[in-house]
């Protein structure tokens, strides 16, 4: 009971209290109905217009017939333009309004397709749209052929202006960098390069060495006693490399049929094939573009290596040699590119204490 009364009073108060709101409401309703009326009118007028132009309304067949008629006449027009343009220069200026008419006809055709699309099968809509696109294109090309006009474009300006300078720049760039690089390489970092069939023993007893490079070695045995800041290994074939601890990182690229015994903070191996790596690494070694590479633990021995390993933070076996990340195999299952060397195949502890420093090349009896 009470509720009803409340409702009533609220309703009445609404009516009484808000004459302004009411007025607004009425105005809005009127606007809406006006809008509706005009919309209706528009649609009927449009319908009558289309009806007059298309007697068989909503018939796919007749639409297609009309469409292909229009298409044919447009094509004929376009052909005429081209012929005219080819024949005489004077006619060109007269063609212009005709061309504009043609393009207007094409957009009219496009509108018709759009209006009739609701009853046309999808295939017909697609094909007629495609036809329209082709017509448009040929009108464009007719414009270009018949009335060539200097178009404003950034590209033409840039290309006419910049091409030669770019070429020059490029050439300069290459020369500059070649020059710089050759100088840099000539200055070179310490290392062993371009050697074949050699046993090379290097003994670094004092301070930590800087970076050291092994490059372009073929069938060599290399023993490096000492500590290094960084080690770069590039293009080795059929080599055996034994090295003391590296404080920084080791980067190995393009090696085939090799054996490495290395200890380092980080080891990256790129493009290695058929090679064995005996490693002690503080972090996980990574491989990229490698195949048939195998991994085992570091087992090198010479006088003072224990202290050297300790100074480089590599005295503990971390077991990381067995957890390799393959950047070419980012999946949970084991990569097919690498495996762990089975224990009975491990090379024995390699003791190089007795090796004297030698750098001369002599044939290996293998």
């Amino acid at each position: 009971m009470e509720d009803e009364e409340v409702e009533k009073t609220r309703a009445s108060s609404m009516e009484v209290q808000d004459p302004i709101a009411q007025k607004k409401h009425a105005a809005m309703l009127e606007r809406l109905s006006n809008l509706h009326q005009s919309r209706l009118q528009q649609s009927t007028s449009r319908r009558s217009a289309t009806d007059s132009s298309s007697p068989a309304f909503e018939s796919v067949h007749s639409f297609l017939a009309r469409f292909s008629d229009a298409k044919r006449s447009l094509e004929a027009e376009l052909r005429r333009f081209h012929a005219l343009a080819a024949s005489s220069g004077d006619a060109k200026s007269q063609i212009r309004p005709d061309l504009e008419k043609a393009s207007a006809a094409i957009s009219d055709l496009e509108r018709q397709v759009a209006e009739n699309s609701y009853f046309l099968p999808p295939y017909e809509v697609r094909s007629s749209l495609k036809t329209i696109a082709e017509l448009k294109e040929s009108v464009e090309s007719a414009y270009a052929d018949i009335l060539p006009r200097k178009k404003f474009s950034f590209r033409s300006k840039a290309s006419s202006n910049k091409v030669p300078t770019v070429v020059v720049q490029g050439a300069e760039e290459i020369i500059v960098s070649d020059d710089a690089n050759s100088k840099l390489i000539a200055r070179g970092s310490p290392g062993l390069r371009d050697l074949q069939n050699a046993v090379l023993v290097k003994h670094f007893s004092g301070e930590v060495e800087g970076d050291f490079t092994l490059a372009d070695l073929h069938s060599c045995e290399v023993y490096l006693k000492g500590r290094f800041g960084a080690l770069f290994i590039h293009r080795l074939r059929n080599c055996r490399i034994f090295a003391g601890p590296v404080i920084g990182s080791v980067l190995i690229e393009e090696v085939n049929d090799c054996l490495f015994m290395l200890a380092s903070h980080q080891i990256r191996i790129h493009q290695a094939k058929d090679s064995d790596f005996y490693l002690r690494v503080r972090t996980r070694p990574i491989i990229e573009d490698c195949s048939r590479v195998r991994f085992g633990p570091y087992r090198l021995c010479y006088d003072g290596i224990d202290e050297q390993l300790k100074e480089c933070g590599l005295h503990e076996e971390t077991g990381n040699w067995a957890s390799v990340d393959d950047f070419r195999w980012l999946r949970a299952v084991q990569s097919p590119n690498w495996c762990v060397i089975s224990e009975h195949e491990f090379v024995g502890v390699t003791d190089i204490s007795g090796l004297e420093e030698k750098n001369e090349i002599h044939g290996l009896s293998t």
Binding site: S189, E209, A230, D289, F327
Partner: protein
């Protein structure tokens, strides 16, 4: 202009900067980030993917995106270009052989339109190793002088191993970004 001023306003409020660390693999990107954040740098694996660090630096908060540099994942760098305020290109000064690769990768990166406004800090890293190339030599090898004149760039020698030069580099970068993005107060 309207959108730009809105972005500026938001950034000014938060004082945030987005820094992208890139460079070839083995150049020391992750080590640099951890070093300036005062973390342990003795056990850093080659980056498989990326790391994000938010670091308070002066009155700014830096979002540092440290992206792996291995060849396989370099093509993913572009996923991190959006809204980068500062670019840090790290060079291994001891890796003479790959300097040409380094130059090409940097040149490709700088063609990127989304990075066109970013300040560029180049670190010639690993200066602690004796006999490595000096920053001036790196600048020459990378042909930095031929860079687009509108680019703000500077090269610093540094060692992520002992920390030398890192703060100088970041100071310059932050100042440069700040003077561009924020009204200097």
């Amino acid at each position: 202009m309207g959108l730009l001023s809105i972005i500026r306003k938001i950034k000014r409020k938060e004082k945030e900067m987005r820094i992208l660390m890139v460079g070839l693999d083995n150049s020391g990107k992750t080590t640099i980030v951890l070093k300036i954040n005062g973390e342990d740098t003795s056990v850093i694996s080659p980056t498989l993917g990326f790391n994000i660090k938010t670091i308070k630096y002066q009155k700014y908060s830096l979002n540092i995106w440290d992206v792996g540099g291995q060849k396989t994942i370099r093509s993913y760098w572009r996923n991190y270009f959006e809204q980068t305020d500062g670019l840090v290109w790290v060079v291994d000064s001891s890796d003479v052989r790959r300097l040409e690769d380094c130059r090409m990768e940097l040149a490709n990166l700088l063609k990127e339109e989304r990075l066109s406004g970013a300040s560029l800090l180049i670190f010639a890293n690993k200066q602690d190793i004796q006999g490595v190339l000096k920053p001036a030599e790196i600048a020459k090898a990378l042909n930095l002088d031929a860079m687009d004149k509108t680019r703000h760039w500077k090269i610093f020698g540094c060692s992520a191993y002992n920390g030398e030069g890192l703060l100088e580099g970041f100071d310059w970068l932050i100042q440069d970004i700040a003077s561009r993005i924020y009204v200097i107060d």
